[in-house]
Symmetry: C2
Subunit: 298 residues, 2 copies
């Protein structure tokens, strides 16, 4: 622990991310109080050892983590700050540009709020898929305001360290483009592919190989969790979808034209895909915390 390490914390939202944060903090010796609009979720998280149910008798915590869908973050943050639940606040929502702008417009206390997003895989409602090791070795993006005091940043950095993640500072709009490319766009593409197979005959589906099951696996994600995230990252995600749709339309045109160059043109497009797949496979998670990549081409 560092000097900025929290001793007490409140986690609001006992889904996969919130409960995983609570489990990691509890394991690190931090006292955790849990809040969720669903009392059953709190009970489950408490039973998993994620902390205790929050009560109004709790004194202000060193750190409050708002782990809700993007559409709920700002209202909850404003309310929590108004009630004095803690000293430093962060959130874990999967989009950052709208959330951080709305927090400013809503009049939240920006001196005590560091927008954040741990990149750690599928989110589900309720604590059942939570895991204290969920963030180990994963990137955790922070999008501080220009005016964010060092002390607030250090507290959130300590949270990220206690969770075993790698901190990466990004501008909010850069974060949103990155996740649109790496996660939100691909998720919608996989869902579009998978939709074809709903209610299909088992004989037909039985002919599918493991490659197809890999390709559409992410479509298993919770539709409501995802739709909230996607609607909060509309422009960047739409840009990705338009680009992919254009690529598919071009490939379709090559196939329908069917001239002698079609195999060559297709092979060149596939070769680009193979290179991208290989580059993606080689790149591993950043091994060290870094404050970089705040703009420009990614």
């Amino acid at each position: 622990m560092t000097a900025a390490s929290p001793h007490t914390s409140v986690v609001i939202g006992c889904g996969t991310t919130g409960t995983s944060v609570a489990l990691a903090l509890t394991r690190a010796g931090v006292e955790v109080a849990l809040i969720d609009e669903n009392p059953q979720a709190v009970s489950e998280a408490v039973a998993m050892g994620a902390g205790a149910a929050w009560t109004p008798r709790h004194p202000p915590a060193d750190l409050v983590v708002v782990a809700t869908p993007p559409s709920e973050v700002v209202d909850i943050l404003y309310s929590a700050q108004s009630r004095g639940l803690g000293h430093v606040y962060t959130d874990t929502a999967g989009t950052k540009d709208i959330v951080s702008a709305e927090a400013e417009l809503r009049g939240c206390d920006l001196k005590g709020y560091v927008p954040g997003h741990p990149l750690a895989g599928p989110e589900a409602p309720g604590p059942s898929t939570a895991d204290a090791d969920r963030f180990t070795g994963r990137p955790w993006v922070v999008c501080p305001y220009e005016t964010t005091p060092g002390r607030a940043l250090e507290t959130v950095a300590a949270l990220i360290e206690l969770c075993g993640a790698h901190r990466l500072k990004l501008a909010p709009h850069v974060h949103d483009r990155v996740v649109a490319e790496l996660s939100h766009g691909p998720h919608l593409v996989a869902a579009a592919l998978a939709a074809r197979f709903a209610d299909s005959s088992p004989t037909f589906l039985g002919l599918a190989g493991p490659e197809l099951r890999d390709t559409v696996r992410t479509a298993a994600g919770d539709p409501w969790v995802w739709s909230d995230v996607l609607a909060h990252n509309a422009g960047p995600v739409a840009d990705v979808l338009d680009r992919i749709a254009g690529q598919l339309a071009r490939a379709s045109a090559i196939l329908r034209d069917g001239d002698d160059l079609a195999p060559l043109e297709l092979a060149l497009a596939l070769e680009e895909g193979r290179r991208g797949q290989a580059d993606l496979g080689v790149a591993d998670h950043p091994g060290t915390t870094r404050d970089a990549c705040t703009g420009g081409r990614v």
Copy 2:
């Protein structure tokens, strides 16, 4: 072995599929002679125990397996039949409508040829990824002509049984629609997604999670093997791509409109994808050989 089981065979084409067939047949006690335009590939396959190099001194074999890309099947089949390499012929190409029609137009002996396609995952040039168990439990489609004699069918059925696969009879155009939906279309979609990541910064790619790596994994496939297959299944693949492109354009429009119903509309689309993913996950390979599903909705 049944009465129709081959005792001798010739395998033409020592890529993944051809060499795997040869390994499975050799293991089952069938005498296998190997042919490939690349002598190095034959040597490697022989060294792997897939059989012996074919020589003109070999008598006509009970079964000849043409395991080449679709664009080469018909010329090789015609030539092999003209030279009397065997009695019964089959192929393993990933498309069947054009191949079976061209074999007829070219004047191949249809009484001794049963078009076929084992559905068994990524193909690579050369024998290095071959495996005697490649076809175990997998579907193997046959597309006999109406005039195919029972004896030729039985020999190919024996091949499929010796390879441990499940035989499924389909009309050629139905086969091609099925593989367009389950394999060819999804492959191009994954390649289109993956192409974005070629030459991207390691910092950016390091933020990708395992979900994205699953989604684009199939894009690792050999571009030239794939482009030949895709160009031979142009219409059905283009139909799949057009449909997916349309779905992505609709999702993009929902996002850009950004009205209050956007999250609901997105969630409904994602729910359809989730159902398709679940149905696909539940459906397993057909457990028994069947002669069905020759037309209609799949």
